[in-house]
Amino acid sequence: MKLRQIKEFIIEKLIFLSGILSILFVVLIFTFLLKEGFLFFKEISIKTFITGKYWYPISDPEQFGILPLILGSLIVTLGAIIVSVPLSIACAFYISEVAQGRIKDILKAGIEMLAAIPSVVLGFIGMTTLVPFLKNVFNLPTGLTALSGSIMLGLMAMPTIITISEDAINAVPKSYKEGALALGATRWQAMYRVIIHAALPGIIAASMLGIGRVIGETMAVMMITGNAAVIPTTFLQPVRTLTATIAAEMGETVHGSMHYYSLFAIGIILFVITFIINVTADMFLHRNKK
């Protein structure tokens, strides 16, 4: 009896410990980003970092302005929103309200598959098909543009947006729809006059989580957006994002150099952006529950 109590005590403590660990990991992420990033901000102020127009980390004199990178991330994300949000919402409605039986199952499986495809693979496909296609259509010197990034990332955000929106639509009480239909509304009217309003907070949360995914995405962006650190003016020019900068340059930096610390500083900015997006999405989701 005694032995069993001891065993149970140990197991409970171990389980408690593994629960605590996730706090530790978040704290570790914070400390390491801040520790390395802080060394950077001692030399260069946050304001010059964010508003600087030139990213020349290894030329002499070096310049650390991430405005082009921030705008690069923003334009790709904006494009991805335009591509994916309307399509995903329509798709979610189609799956939960219109499609039936076999088609519904196939669609759901297809979306799950799309979510499972690694981003290098999508990047490669974008590189071999989409990039040459855009180059020919718009008669550009290169097809590696913000637009190609937007389209590919839009595709990658779709599974997230569709599944969460679908949950939100399914959570709308059946009586709403039945009420609308009883009043003589067609199914289409019930959808866009009644159901969408009830499901809106969930749909907004879904879109925001999709956006969070787009901003954080790295490999596909690095492969198809051309990686030129210039302030973008149109969708048809190469851009470079925050994530791609970290992944592409970290391998080549000297440990302890300003360049090394600057990439951690970019990490801080990225962390803050995604944190805000996720918290806002969470707020919308909780409002939905109430």
Binding site: S18, G19, S22, V98, A116, F271
Partner: protein, 302 residues
């Protein structure tokens, strides 16, 4: 009257539009994959799996890449699965409703939303530099373990929550302790769904590239980590050791990325072949997950 006909038409239009876009989307995806497949299939041979990378595209293979992926996955699974399931059990079965629990919940939600490159930065700062693990299998595996941890926790919690409370009450009623209830009743009942989540999380880790590139995993490696079991002709005949954990590595997606960024046409064919292998692995894992879930659903009687 006219308006009613219009509305009816709109109704039908949405349905037709839905089916059309669905078919179109599926077709485009299919064509793209067939394209990659045709490109890469010619390179898929036994030699492709047993050769190291090379400067000559025809001679290059993915030996170091798939062995590296296997090593990393072993480390990731070893760390993330027990930790993830453990914290899910804590949160669902044990945790009191207090500040600390709320803090854990927020941390997990946060970890789940952090971009994967940032995990790379953490891995670089913590494992590569601070623990001085260098760019080793262990550093890569630990980095990916933290990355998939929230995924495993969230799916396991979902699985535990689906077990009706009456099962726990029945177990207590016949005198079982808390842990006996969890271990003998709740976990077995939730096992199928837990497995599904774990497999999906691991399949995500297989394709993850950005954090590994950020911690500085090498792209050109012409040797393998020391195997855990070595057979030899001398006395103990078998040597078991985990020295390989500290060897440098490359992984399948990194190798593909490396080939993609080379200009010669031959390497792009290699990349296609590598992608067939990578997609094969991830889709196989996903199918297994779907099958496990399906069987669990059939078994469930509440």
């Amino acid at each position: 009257m006219n308006k009613r006909i219009l509305n009816k038409r709109l109704d039908g239009l949405f349905k037709v539009l839905g089916i059309l876009t669905t078919v179109f989307g599926m077709l485009v995806l299919l064509v793209l994959f067939i394209d990659v497949f045709l490109d890469g299939a010619s390179r898929l041979s036994l030699g492709f799996f047993t050769s190291f990378p090379s400067r000559k595209p025809e001679a290059a293979g993915i030996l170091s890449a798939w062995v590296g992926t296997l090593w990393i996955m072993a480390v990731t699974a070893f760390i993330a699965i027990p930790l993830g399931i453990g914290s899910a059990i804590y949160l669902e079965e044990y945790a009191p409703k207090n500040r600390l629990t709320a803090l854990i919940e927020i941390s997990i939600a946060n970890l789940a939303g952090v971009p994967s490159v940032i995990f790379g930065l953490l891995g670089l700062g913590l494992f590569v530099r601070w623990f001085n693990l260098d760019r080793s299998v262990l550093a890569g595996g630990l980095t990916l373990a933290i990355l998939v941890l929230p995924v495993i926790i969230l799916s396991t919690r979902e699985a535990l929550r689906a077990i009706p409370f009456s099962i726990r009450e029945a177990s207590y009623a016949v005198g079982a302790t808390k842990w006996q209830t969890v271990y003998l009743q709740v976990l077995p009942a939730a096992l199928g769904n837990i497995m599904t989540g774990v497999i999906l999380a691991m399949s995500r880790a297989v394709g993850e590239t950005a954090p590994l590139i950020t911690i500085g995993a090498l792209t050109y490696i012409a040797f393998l980590p020391q195997p855990p079991v070595i057979l030899s002709g001398e006395f103990p005949f078998i040597r078991v050791g985990l020295q390989g954990l500290f060897d440098p590595f490359t992984a399948l997606p990194i190798q593909i990325f490396n080939w993609v960024s080379r200009p010669q046409k031959g390497f792009s064919v290699n990349a296609s072949a590598g992608i067939i292998v990578l997609l094969g692995i991830t889709l196989a894992m996903n199918s297994i997950a779907v099958i496990v879930r399906y069987r669990q659903r059939k078994k469930t009687r509440w």
